[in-house]
């Protein structure tokens, strides 16, 4: 008997779920996630929704940056595009919130393509600068087009309904977030296995070689921007119904940097890694909130001075630690762990 499970066909190699055990684990995992909101308190349900939104936005960035190698610092502003598209269509045109879901994704996708256009001429640092401009321009337009967007005062979003059922922002709404997050994960996993996904990876690894092999750079870079920003738009849609109030300050540069940080911590280029990175960073963020609140409450005079930017420091330390000790991210650790058990007892630590 072979020590472990090995892929013997190409189809098996490419499959997302390869063994019966994995299939069972996926089913149990889904059952666990779907029942989770039922036994959590309101704060944790809220955290779960926040996490789902983050995962969707981070997966968009994973497709754009992790798979296609196009750095983007404007993901948060594109979430804003999705959120505002939905808010404006509902408040000004009275459109059904559900109908605005694809439109939020599409609008973010198209605007992302506009800002992604420089990627055909520039890359790496220069592209980062160009997408950084997107972050500022989009927010500037939102603030100054106040007849449409409500300007810096923001916009209220009605509660999401399914027929006559009010979904609110609690347990019922968390199911919408979970379903969209699961679909986003499945989508991202599948994109990786398509022709487009392979073209993205080829462009990331060496765009000249990819072009020489017949990969249309123009087409696939635009496609990566469109899909990545579509994800951001969907995350923005969810965000709007989660917060029930949107204003430009919610879509700042810092949020874009956090998303990029999640990719680094999780492992650039991996869907699982992106999800793990999003979970870890959000948990750390929450932990820093609790610690800061407790410390700030216990030692008010110190809290206001010394604990300032506590969360940011924690984020910085985690990011630096991963870059130094495990640049391949959490996903690499996960792979090592899986390989160890797959080859057990023949594996080495």
């Amino acid at each position: 008997m072979l020590p472990g499970v090995f892929n013997t066909t190409y189809a098996k190699d490419m499959a997302i779920v390869r063994t019966k055990l994995q299939f069972l684990a996926v089913l149990l995992g889904l059952a666990f996630i779907l029942t989770l909101p039922l036994y959590l308190n309101p704060y944790w349900v809220s955290f779960l929704v926040y996490l789902c939104i983050t995962i969707i936005a981070a997966l968009g960035l994973h497709i754009l940056t992790g798979l296609c190698g196009q750095i983007s610092l404007g993901q948060s502003a594109l979430m804003g595009v999705g959120a505002y598209t939905s808010g404006i269509l509902i408040s000004k045109l009275g459109m059904s919130p559900w109908l605005t879901l694809p439109l939020a994704g599409l609008s973010a996708g198209f605007i992302g393509c506009i800002f992604g256009a420089p990627s055909l001429r520039v890359k790496e640092f220069y592209l980062a600068m160009s997408t950084l401009a997107a972050q500022f321009i989009i927010i500037w337009v939102i603030i100054h087009w106040d007849s449409l967007t409500g300007g810096s005062n923001g916009l209220y979003i009605p509660t999401l309904r399914l027929g006559t059922i009010k979904l609110g922002s609690g347990v019922k709404f968390s199911y919408v977030a979970i379903i969209l997050a699961v679909l986003a994960i499945v989508g991202a996993k599948n994109i990786q296995r398509t022709r487009a996904g392979r073209a993205f990876i080829a462009i990331r690894d060496n765009d000249l070689a990819a072009e020489a092999m017949g990969v249309n750079l123009f087409r696939f870079k635009f496609l990566a921007f469109f899909i990545g920003c579509f994800y951001a738009g969907v995350a923005g849609w969810l965000w709007a119904f989660y917060m029930r109030y949107i204003n430009p300050e919610q879509f700042g540069l810092l949020a874009s940097l956090w998303l990029l940080g999640m990719l680094i911590v999780g492992g650039i280029g991996s869907t699982t890694g992106t999800v793990l990175g999003a979970i870890l960073i959000r948990l750390l963020d929450m932990l820093s909130d609790f610690l800061a609140t407790k410390l700030g409450e216990l030692y008010p005079s110190v809290g206001a001075q010394s604990f300032s930017a506590f969360g940011l420091m924690l984020f910085g330390v985690v990011l630096a630690t991963f870059l130094i000790l495990e640049p391949r991210g959490l996903y690499h650790r996960w792979e090592i762990l899986k390989a160890y058990w797959r080859l057990y007892p023949y594996s080495r630590k």
Binding site: Y43, W44, G150, M243, D289, F307, S308
Partner: protein, 409 residues
């Protein structure tokens, strides 16, 4: 068996005597307020004293048994002034049993509104905007609208301008950051200066909008001087305009600067950094000030001494700012609402709904801590009166007017 019966009888007797001697204390009903504030972020020096003020007002009310049968307490969530944290903060406080929400900053008041309305939890917020006062609403705020500060400031300038001596109306301009506060305030000033209410009494010279966190004010400062500005209405926090204050002083520009409630945000720090460039600055505000003879201020001073250490007072520069006083007054407003609710439904039945009902027809006089507040079914910004302050040569602000009615748009 006999020993067992004896033992049990003795135990029963002792238990009976204990029950007679120490009857069970009637347990007070807990009223929990969820405070949503920045404790460790960029506005921590503002948020910490404000939160301590709220907390100490509750402690003071509990110690005085201000509302018999009710015990006040608070849960706090540190948003670090991150607009994305308001919803988690709200859900955290809700999960901890908050029957009333107390968000401080405008972005939090605005964001909490739809969530609290859905759960029918009343919100007593600090800052107001057109969004927060939109009815139907469960939100009640302390401060007036930003544009009402602009109108009131111009009205006060007009009332105190010596037309005979100057032989002309005052030249008034406004400056603000390109954000909600700056845009709303400068526009409010422009609208009021050109309104029939002050027609012929004001010469509006213009407004300047600069990007948020601007540090170079050379051009705006020069333009304001060229416009022969007498009064400059400022729509951003003073910590952001220290360079402008210094330019005004070093170039001997003549215009006087006037702010709304936000004019004293982290004032202790502003004073340290700007030095005597702060002399002659003015505020039109809704709050009282340390050392004033009003009973509410005296009570706050006593509470501060009782509940806070000298180190805290010194490090947080509590006595140099308005934050603790305002927080204390803000807490008093909630206590008054609960008191009214308790009087109506009884202390044991006070809940969010009862507090909401009480807030819909409430008059709160904090005896000088804050300007008196009224809330009705349709009027949701509390304070109706404002007062003018000037920073004196000893760098301390002092009231230079009595309370006067706010000019509403």
């Amino acid at each position: 068996m006999k020993t067992y019966v004896k033992g049990m009888s003795l135990f029963g007797l002792v238990f009976f005597i204990m029950v007679l001697l120490f009857p069970a204390q009637a347990k007070s009903r807990q009223i929990t307020a969820g405070v949503i504030v920045d404790l460790t972020g960029p506005l921590a020096m503002n948020g910490q004293p404000m939160y301590l003020g709220v907390k100490d007002s509750f402690q003071d009310a509990n110690d005085r048994n201000a509302v018999p049968g009710i015990e006040f307490n608070s849960v706090v969530y540190d948003t670090k002034y991150d607009a994305a944290k308001t919803a988690p903060a709200y859900h955290y406080c809700k999960g901890k049993g908050a029957q009333i929400m107390m968000p401080i900053y405008l972005q939090d008041v605005e964001a909490v509104k739809p969530l609290a309305e859905e759960d029918e939890i009343p919100v007593v917020g600090y800052n107001s905007s057109h969004l927060t006062i939109k009815l139907p609403s469960w939100v009640f705020t302390q401060t007036p609208l930003v544009e009402d500060f602009a109108s009131s400031s111009i009205k006060w300038i007009v009332s105190n301008w010596d037309y005979k001596k100057e032989g002309r109306p005052p030249n008034i301009a406004a400056i603000g950051w390109d954000n909600a506060l700056g845009n709303t305030y400068t526009q409010g000033a422009e609208d009021f200066a050109q309104s029939p209410q002050v027609k012929g009494k004001v010469n509006w010279v213009g407004k300047i909008i600069v990007p948020p966190r601007t540090v170079d004010y050379m051009e705006p400062a020069r333009s304001l001087d060229e416009w022969k500005t007498d009064w400059l209405a400022v729509g951003c926090v003073p910590s952001g305009t220290i360079p402008l204050m210094k330019l005004r002083q070093s170039h001997n520009y003549k215009y006087k600067m006037i702010w709304g409630d936000w004019g004293q945000v982290i004032w202790g720090f502003v004073k340290e950094r700007a030095g005597d460039a702060v002399v002659g600055h003015y505020w039109i505000t809704t709050f009282g000030w340390w050392g004033q003879p009003e009973p509410g201020v005296k009570r706050t001073e006593k509470a501060l001494e009782k509940y806070r250490s000298e180190e805290e007072i010194k490090k947080l520069r509590i006595k140099e700012g308005y934050e603790y006083l305002t927080g204390f007054g803000f807490g008093c407003a909630v206590i008054e609402a609960v008191k009214k609710a308790a009087a109506k439904v009884g202390p044991n039945k006070v809940d969010g709904k009862a507090i909401y009902e009480a807030l819909q027809n409430l008059y709160v006089d904090t005896q000088g801590i804050l300007s008196p507040m009224t809330w009705t079914k349709t009027k949701r910004t509390g304070s109706d009166l404002v007062r003018a302050y000037e920073v004196m040569p000893d760098l301390k602000p002092a009231p230079i007017s009595d309370w006067f009615p706010l000019v509403r748009k």
